[in-house]
């Protein structure tokens, strides 16, 4: 067994401990409104065909929303970080827009985009945009001045500098932003389905809660979490492949 797998396996103890605590708490409560992991597992078994169908819808929207945010916000963040004056002046704007709670902007978005997929994707993209923009902006804002000098002395145009210097050196922090953005696009995908319910896991959860089948709702959510785990594992892989220069550079060579 390699060191990595050992760490992975021992690490599993943490979530298992939490599951155990949850199970104990559920057994103490004895009400269908507080199901334990066991009940949720049974509910997964009972509901998985429906869940899988709804899950696809939820995920698709999350992916589209995230993608939209990524292709717009990473370039924008780099632009604002590099063209410092504009970035500094617009900082409060970022804070203002970032603070609006999705439940409060949903009615507003609905006015322009309706209640269908369009509206939900817009809201998801909005939620994913914030961490991506902030991390990209801060990263490109704090690139070591030496690299800017290299770029200028090699006569890179502004655009080339952003693409060839700012983007790669910001990647480690963008990756963190992307992790946050992935989580929040899944979360908001579900939330938007709960608030503008038509279909998807959020609607399934909402309906389950309203008819007091909490375990079924959580079963649906468990799948969202699973999707989160899988996507994050993928991001981890990408980080290893693309950012080794950042992390290997840093670690004392063994």
């Amino acid at each position: 067994m390699t060191r990595q797998t050992r760490i992975a396996l021992w690490g599993l103890l943490v979530p298992l401990a939490i599951l155990a605590l949850w199970q104990v708490a559920a057994m103490l409560q004895r009400t269908p409104l507080f199901p334990g992991p066991g009940k949720v597992a049974l509910a997964i078994w009972a509901n998985y065909p429906v869940i899988l169908r709804e899950l696809g819808i939820t995920l698709l929207r999350a992916v589209v929303g995230f993608g939209l945010a990524a292709v717009t916000m990473i370039p924008l963040g780099i632009f604002l970080g590099r063209v410092r004056v504009i970035g500094r002046v617009l900082e409060p704007l970022m804070d203002m827009l970032a603070t609006l709670p999705p439940p409060a902007i949903i009615p507003l978005v609905m006015l322009f985009a309706g209640t269908g997929d369009g509206a939900k994707v817009v809201i998801i993209a909005y939620a994913a945009a914030v961490p991506l923009l902030m991390n990209t902006y801060e990263a490109s804002h704090s690139i070591h001045p030496m690299l800017s000098r290299v770029a200028r002395s090699l006569h890179l145009s502004r655009f080339e500098t952003m693409r060839l210097i700012d983007l790669p050196s910001s990647l480690p922090m963008i990756a963190t932003g992307a992790r946050l953005a992935i989580a929040s696009s899944l979360l908001v995908s579900v939330t938007s389905e709960m608030l503008l319910a038509t279909n998807g896991i959020g609607t399934f959860l909402q309906r389950s809660q309203e008819t007091f089948k909490i375990d079924a709702g959580l079963a649906g959510i468990a799948f969202i979490s699973l999707a989160g785990i899988i996507v994050n594992a993928g991001v981890f892989r990408l980080e290893k492949n693309w950012l080794f220069w950042h992390y290997r550079d840093q670690r004392p060579a063994e």
Partner: protein
């Protein structure tokens, strides 16, 4: 000339940004894309907001919400950084915490509320739970990445001068990682406000979230938007506080970055 304008613009950036938002809003209004009933003009909103101000209820609600968000942010930031530190010290716990964060992060707080009510009631504990649950992740994730990214020469320097793992963390890694951690805290500041508003909507008796909820039910749209603008301003305020702290703790970094032309 140009630098003069830039300096001036930076000095008045908050009013500029507010004017920008209001301006765009008003333009959309004038274009008449949607019924004024759902999308009122800025003057209408201002008048409605002014009326709310005069009866004083807004101030109290604002104070409640802002205080909650601030306390939530402090709690979440401390917890998030603590988790990052623990992760840095132990690879096993690091992995374990990452599993938990991967699982919990995408779950909307509303999914927990029916259950959380059993453990935490409808009061401040429920709020704290919801706020912490969504707000810890940015400081935690930025913290983990930043601590892992501290350079080998700096680490070696610390080790050389007799720092233990703990001392290394405290005196080298944490200061070096702080600028990046603050990016997480900044994002957390905005989320914490969102979380407070959402929990006030979920089970409320006071605060801006509850007020928005009630006004919406009474179809007082201008007031609802007025309150939303207030929330937005809160974001700037809260961030101003974060920036003060940040300047104190990582001022060196800000000045180092300003050096290049």
């Amino acid at each position: 000339m140009i630098p003069g304008i830039a300096v001036l613009a930076e000095k008045f950036r908050v009013p500029i940004c507010i004017a920008l938002v209001l301006g765009v809003w008003q333009i959309v209004f004038v274009l008449g894309v949607v019924n004024e009933k759902y999308f009122p003009s800025i003057p209408t909103i201002a008048v409605a907001f002014g009326q709310m101000l005069t009866d004083g209820s807004v101030i109290a609600a604002w104070a409640t919400t802002f205080l909650r968000a601030l306390i939530g942010l402090i709690g979440a930031a401390l917890l998030g950084v603590a988790l990052a530190i623990v992760s840095d010290l132990s690879p096993i716990l690091s992995r374990g915490i990452r599993y938990v964060s991967d699982v919990l992060q995408p779950i909307p707080p509303a999914a927990f509320v029916p259950m959380a009510v059993f453990m935490l009631g409808l009061g401040s504990k429920l709020y704290a739970f919801v706020i912490i649950l969504v707000t810890v992740w940015p400081p935690y994730l930025n913290g983990v990445a930043a601590l892992a990214g501290v350079g080998p020469v700096q680490l070696n320097t610390g080790r050389m001068f007799g720092l233990t793992n703990w001392g290394l963390l405290w005196r080298v890694k944490l200061p070096a990682a702080l600028p990046e951690i603050f990016t997480g805290i900044r994002y957390a500041a905005t989320i914490s406000l969102i979380a407070v508003i959402v929990s006030e909507m979920l089970a409320g008796r006071d605060g801006i979230g509850f007020m928005i909820f009630k006004k919406a039910f009474a179809m007082r749209t201008p007031e609802v938007f007025g309150l939303m603008f207030l929330v937005a301003i809160n974001g700037v305020l809260l961030n101003g506080l974060v920036n003060l702290l940040r300047r104190g703790l990582t001022g060196w970094h800000m000045r180092m970055m300003e050096r290049s032309e």
